[in-house]
């Protein structure tokens, strides 16, 4: 999940976002101003990864055709694939019934996971009780 940061990007919760006010008005953010964003491969249904978006990241995802997330660890925006080449082309974006989660259907180039796995959920399957 590497990317090129966007210099000078505002912090989450900054009201300077260009997100459609009708969407911003119903978006229910966490205490950190973010909502979880699930990336799913549009045709196979694979759940590729989960990232985080603030208003501006959602706006960029809706308007640029490329998935943009907010990195909680680096505190900056990142466009998936900018450094790895493993881009996510946006096919559709939906909010859930509570407007507190985003589902982005994408066309993922190559591996979604920074480990090289196709998805971030391939490597650590937990044991179920018998």
């Amino acid at each position: 999940m590497t990317s090129t940061p966007t210099p000078g990007a505002p912090s989450p919760g900054t009201p300077a976002s260009s997100l459609d006010p009708a969407i911003a008005a119903r978006l229910r953010r966490g205490a950190d101003g973010l909502v979880p964003a699930i990336a799913q491969q549009y045709d196979t249904g694979e759940v590729l990864m989960l990232g985080w978006m603030d208003d501006e990241a959602l706006h960029r995802t809706l308007t640029t055709g490329r998935c943009t997330y907010w990195s909680r660890s680096r505190q900056e925006y990142w466009v998936k694939g900018d450094t790895s080449g493993h881009v996510q082309r946006v096919r559709s974006v939906a909010l859930d019934c509570d407007a507190d989660t985003v589902l982005v259907r994408v066309d993922q180039t190559g591996a979604a996971c920074h480990t090289g796995d196709r998805t971030c959920f391939d490597a650590d399957v937990l044991p179920l009780a018998e």
Copy 2:
């Protein structure tokens, strides 16, 4: 997303969870002690909903065969389908590469969404820029 609460359940972050210590040691929780949990229909790939789990909810999900979440609004555990009948039978559970998100593949009975929709992402598709 209705359910029957579990009376007397501990709050998130309470160390009384019975979760396997090897899993608890690598789980990376948010400031509220929770991780997002994506529920996906195991065979069709549909992303059904996103809920939240603390250690104990994850433990119960791994050991009871039924998806258990922590309700942030009601501050209690809920077993999906206990009141609605729309149960989620657990097929597999995986952590992501950062161990901060759970993917649960389930067999969903009926509608996953409390609105009656099959998934929580069916009703609010956002417009993309041309």
